[in-house]
């Protein structure tokens, strides 16, 4: 067992809409990442993946609000810290973030190096421009980015280049946890590969100690992360190693997600595509029982009535379903 870098216990956050309604977007999430490990979070649109990413940083601004839970970064509980301290001492240095829309993440009228200067100055005010330039140049080159990028504006870079620049900026202060929210989803396959390689490179070189990778593409997670978590309607429905999750999903929702993957092979055009019917529940009024029950073909009255707790195995694997794992595997096997 390595050292735990990030631990989250029963984190709950909500959005408050303009009509004063509460939307419980992250509802009791717990997770743990050890040094050198990466965790993938998968789920369909609107399941709370991105909200979880924002919530994990401990810095909230409207419409997102903190309710309860603990976020412990390398031994420090940041969920009780004052927001200004988090911004000054945690963001950028302890936890760094790669936004979903990296295309627009950079100020269009600022040169990349000017922005890097601003980022570094917040945390290390004494550094001179020259030192910062040298530091940025060395890091960019090490990550395979030409140093000429530093003197450019965001508009002069291609999509893939912009994304890699954002990654390099986010990790320039060698944060302990990197949260990457769909960093490659908007890119073509070649750029996607470069982004993944870069993230792996950052891990190997030790510039980041752990990583959370959020995506809706399961096959990608299998190639990138050690563990995978599947989220549904603000909760974690299943957690396991990447291999387990892809080849042996237990929860009917995870199973459905894996079934929705299209693998191009002979005859795949003729196979009927399976998708999970229905839509996720409204999180303004989450259902009392299992949140997936409305879309689950195995659901019973009992599923809908009571809250379902997570079942945990000794090896750390867990799932949130009323059925025994063996029973579910048997059912899947017969289909």
């Amino acid at each position: 067992m390595g050292k735990t870098i990030l631990e989250v216990r029963d984190l709950k956050t909500k959005y408050i809409t303009r009509f004063r309604e509460d939307v419980y977007a992250v509802d009791g999430v717990s997770l743990k990442i050890e040094e050198g490990k990466s965790l993938g979070i998968a789920g369909e649109s609107g399941c709370g993946k991105s909200t979880l990413a924002l919530s994990l940083m401990g810095y909230y601004f409207p419409p997102l609000h903190y309710i309860s839970g603990d976020i412990i970064v390398d031994g420090d509980n940041i969920s009780k810290m004052n927001p200004d301290d988090i911004r000054r001492n945690i963001l950028g240095t302890e936890i760094a973030y790669i936004p979903q829309a990296a295309m627009n993440a950079l100020n269009p009228t600022q040169k990349i190096i000017r922005f890097i200067e601003d980022v570094i100055h917040v945390h290390e005010p004494g550094k001179t421009k020259k030192e910062i330039y040298e530091m940025a140049r060395a890091r960019f080159e090490e990550l395979g980015l030409p140093s000429s990028v530093l003197e450019k504006h965001a508009v002069e870079l291609s999509g893939g280049m912009k994304q890699r620049t954002v990654i390099a900026i986010s990790t320039i202060l060698s944060p302990k946890v990197l949260i990457a929210d769909e960093p490659s989803s908007a890119l073509d396959v070649t750029s996607q590969k470069m982004v993944i390689k870069m993230l792996k490179n950052l891990m190997e070189k030790g510039y980041i100690k752990s990583m959370i990778f959020i995506t809706h593409e399961l096959p990608l997670l299998y190639n990138v992360t050690d563990d995978i978590m599947v989220m549904y309607a603000g909760q974690i429905v299943e957690k396991g190693t990447a291999k387990e999750m892809v080849f042996d999903p237990i929860h009917p929702y995870s199973k459905g997600l894996m079934g929705s993957i299209i693998v191009p092979e002979a005859g795949s055009r003729d196979v009927k595509l399976t998708a999970i019917p229905g839509t996720p529940p409204n999180l303004k009024k989450p259902p009392a029982g299992c949140r997936f029950a409305e879309r689950c073909k195995y659901a019973t009255a009992e599923c809908r009535a009571n809250l379902i707790d997570s079942k945990e195995f000794a090896d750390g694997r867990s799932y949130r379903c009323i059925y025994e794992a063996e029973k579910l595997r048997e059912v899947y096997g017969n289909e």
């Binding site: 963001l91 950028g92 993440a105 269009p108 009228t109 504006h153």
Partner: protein
């Protein structure tokens, strides 16, 4: 560097083409107005002369002096040749004053009134708009309706309201003119004070209206920029709000610079309403006089000034943008 040269080259070529078209239109359009101003002048000086051939003689004399006996295209080339030397001929309405002389005495009044008013209105408007976007809440709720009210008031409406309230009811400012009727322009305290008090109403009538328009534009640009993704990203990297606000307002300012340049460019035309209402001795009043007397030489010259100023303003904006907005640079320079 090659990109820059090509960009400027293209801009200059377009500038010249528009300029040529503008000169042509400035020449032709006033001359299409109905009525014969030469006949009007003849009638004035031929008063009491009953001999038809003598009147005809006078008419021919004036026609020759103004060049109206020549065909239109010859007149045009003469006009261009003289205009290049700064000579716009003689005015019909204030015969025998030279057009360049009339403009020379009116232009300083307009510049002195409009230029500070536009700058002051622009600065106050942008600061208020930015604050409204940043503070929101009560400040925004009060400021927005007020600025909307001022920006949607027609210019003459506000000018008349100011005149009624401050000049007629409160009697704190003079009703019209650029200085007291009983004064001769000279550098004396009395004259300067008179100019200053006459200046206030036309000045504020322009400032208030431009504050409204600028504040609304700046507010919505700032709100848009405050919600931009780069703002969130900068926050999540720990950058201080003060710095982020700096990014936001710099970006929100960019479209406002176009607004500033265009209002400077159109200031002569924009001056018309408030100058006419307050009988201010500037170019606006001159234009009105030229129009009502079919004074083509004067009209051509004043509209030419407007055209040149608008063209120059937009040309300068294009050039400045190439430097301050990398998005324009990226789109235009390659």
């Amino acid at each position: 560097m090659k990109g820059y040269r090509k960009y400027f080259g293209k801009k200059i070529v377009w500038f010249l083409i528009t300029f040529a078209a503008a000169i042509l239109l400035n020449f032709i359009l006033p001359r299409l107005m109905p009525g014969d101003p030469v006949a009007a002048i003849t009638a004035k000086s031929a008063q009491g002369i009953s001999d038809a051939s003598a009147a005809q003689e006078i008419y021919n004399h004036y026609a020759e002096q103004f060049g109206t006996n020549e065909p239109m295209y010859v007149q045009f080339f003469t006009y261009c040749k003289n205009a290049a030397k700064g000579d716009f001929g003689l005015s019909f309405s204030q015969y025998p004053r030279k057009v360049s002389n009339i403009i020379g005495s009116a232009l300083p009044w307009t510049l002195a009134l409009q230029f500070p008013a536009i700058i002051v209105g622009w600065i106050i408007g942008n600061v208020l708009g930015a604050l409204a976007a940043y503070i929101r809440k009560g400040f925004d709720k009060v400021l927005m309706p007020v600025t909307l009210f001022f920006s949607s008031l027609p210019a003459f409406g506000l000018a008349v309201i100011l005149m009624i309230v401050f000049a007629i009811n409160l009697k704190v400012a003079p009703i019209s003119g650029g200085y007291g009727y009983d004064l001769i322009p000279q550098l004396s305290w009395k004259f300067v004070r008179s100019v200053f008090t006459h200046y206030q109403l036309p000045f504020w009538s322009i400032v208030l209206i431009s504050i409204g328009g600028q504040a609304i534009g700046m507010r919505s640009m700032s709100i848009y920029e405050l919600n931009a993704d780069y703002v969130k990203y900068s926050r999540f990297l720990g950058i201080k709000d003060r710095k982020i606000v700096g990014y936001v307002f710099r970006n929100a300012m960019l479209p406002q610079i176009t607004g500033l340049a265009l209002s400077i460019g159109t200031m002569v035309g924009g001056a018309l309403v408030s100058e006419v209402i307050f009988s201010y001795p500037g170019l606006g009043s001159t234009i009105l006089q030229a129009v009502s007397n079919s004074d083509y030489p004067l009209l051509s010259a004043t509209t030419l000034i407007i055209t040149i100023m608008v063209l120059l303003a937009s040309f300068i904006v294009d050039i400045i943008y190439g430097f301050i907005d990398p998005r324009v640079k990226a789109a235009q320079f390659d």
